[in-house]
Amino acid sequence: MRQHWAILVVDDEPVMRESLAAWLAEDGYSVDVAASGREAIASAEGRDYAIYFIDLKMPPGIDGVETMMEIRKLHPEAAVIIMTAFATVDTAITAMKEGAQEYIVKPCNPEEISLLVGRIIKVKNLQRENLILRKKLAKQYSFHDIISKSSKMREVFELIREVASLKSTVLIQGESGTGKELVARAIHCSGERAARPFVAVSCAALAETLLESELFGHERGAFTGATERKRGKFELADGGTLFLDEIADISAKLQVDLLRVLQERSFFRVGGTEEVGVDVRVIAATRVNLQEAVHAGSFRDDLFYRLNVINIRIPPLRERREDIPLLAREFIERLSHELGKDVENVTEEALKLMIDHDWPGNVRELENAIERAVVTAKSRVLDEDDFAFLRGEARCARPWAVPDNLPLEEVENRVIAATLRRTHGNIKEASAILGIDRSTLYDRIKKHGIPR
């Protein structure tokens, strides 16, 4: 049966590589050969192989282990079988340490090699199947790059579909990191404006005057440095959607200007006298409760009602914990690829740790945590230890007020005493928690006269 998998045989000895290639071809594999490490790397640059058979000793140039290491840089998932005529424990250990899947001594039994190839291909087939299923699943649970299977988010998706083709202003409310801009983009892309521009502005990022110029543009000479006329975001978004993030942060003057644009569908550039008409759908977003801001008098009620024609509330991640495994796996797959790492999964225990965490920074915080774990990961599967930093953050999650009039010495005394109480006097554990070595801890205990 013809196989869709390809194999590369790397050996400087022509009879060796050709006979093995012919033997593997009888099994239906597409087999390429390379006479040197450099030739093998060049082949691997153009194509990924399911299995790489690499001879350990290949003079001159780079040897088998170096070849393997270069190939694994190109394809971290590569299954490498190192072949050698002279087995030594040292070379076997080196080969396996550097990531060889198997290490075989020539000549080997046909049954052994047949089983070995069969086993690797079986895993490759399962991995491929898994990838296809995960993509199908991700598609099932994703809506314009928003991944979720929670019922609350399903309602959000439904609302997005319903309002996408309307012209009405939308107000998106959600904590930091919940994906407000993604929702805004989903609305834009699902509606008739999809082919027109989507322009995003963070109102919190710019000072009042800059934001005014950013939104409405300016005429030449409007202010120092305005050497030419500049079109603002409203004009750039004409026919499309303008996304105003952190809308609660705009000044009272800009609130008036914005209200006018929403009412009149026209505005004046800064320093200009000519009225500019635009057809822009405005989607605003805020992490704070805008209604409370209205009650507090910091946000105009008439602007609030103009913006709040359609209200979409994005639930925080702690209200949709069922999405955490789905999101975590998606981030691992993407970040592992982007960061050139070979992390491919996460243990159930690590997932539980993530599910139990409150994620005040929501999906963005989860993504950052996964990135940190992927960067520092020692194996292909992320485990609890890779997320140990979450435990630390959880302990610090409760805001800690600095006591008044407390000398630093006393702070140190109290912290050490509290840590020792928690570890039941275990010096090793306490020193690890405090991040100091044991002798330093003994010194401090002695210095402060702390009972153990």
Binding site: Q3, V15, A22, E26, K106, P107, P110, E111
Partner: protein, 191 residues
């Protein structure tokens, strides 16, 4: 006339050769012609391994394919190997003109067991078709009953059948039907 060539490298069991010829003619569907014997493959002997290189035997045979032969199967009594493996029953060029078959390990005596002539001949019949099947582009078949399924030991060889499964038989028929035109002309000229 279009045919399969069958040659012995050195002295080879005559009955085994006859059976290989009959099995090939029946399963592949082309007449089989015996070629004059090839020399014993002393040139392929590896003193370190005390075995014969099947690759060198094939290279030797490649230059001696009889005119009009679609494929050539060389049979030897010598125990053969490829460098990577401790032994092979046979070796073939996938989609190529030559295959080699060793009778050494098909005998029960090789494995320290009492001789069993009929079992030996059945194995010869299967392996001859298997190796020539590769030269027609057939790869190992997942159907464990098909003669094209992989056997890495005699137990697996004995467990599989001697015929091509339906799928492999169709592929073989298609390959023979689509042989190059000049070969078909040669075939037409012979009849």
């Amino acid at each position: 006339m279009r045919h399969l060539g069958l040659g012995a490298a050195g002295t080879v069991d005559g009955e085994a050769l006859d059976l290989a010829a009959a099995s090939l003619a029946a399963r592949i569907g082309l007449p089989v012609r015996r070629t004059p014997s090839f020399p014993a493959p002393t040139y392929a002997y590896d003193p370190r391994r005390r075995q014969f290189s099947s690759t060198l035997i094939m290279h030797h045979a490649l230059a001696r394919i009889p005119e009009g032969a679609e494929k050539l199967l060389v049979v030897t009594e010598c125990d053969i190997f490829i460098p990577m493996l401790s032994f092979v029953f046979g070796q073939a060029q996938l989609d190529g003109p030559v295959a080699v078959l060793s009778l050494a390990r098909l005998r029960q005596e090789f494995h320290g067991l009492p001789p069993n002539r009929s079992l030996f001949l059945v194995r010869v019949a299967k392996e001859a078709v298997h190796e020539v099947g590769h030269t027609f582009g057939l790869t190992h078949c997942p159907d464990r009953q098909c003669v094209m399924s992989l056997a890495t030991n005699v137990a697996q060889l004995d467990a599989k059948g001697g015929d091509l499964c339906t799928g492999c038989a169709i592929l073989m028929g298609e390959t023979i039907r689509h042989l190059p035109p000049e070969t078909l002309e040669a075939s037409g000229g012979g009849t």
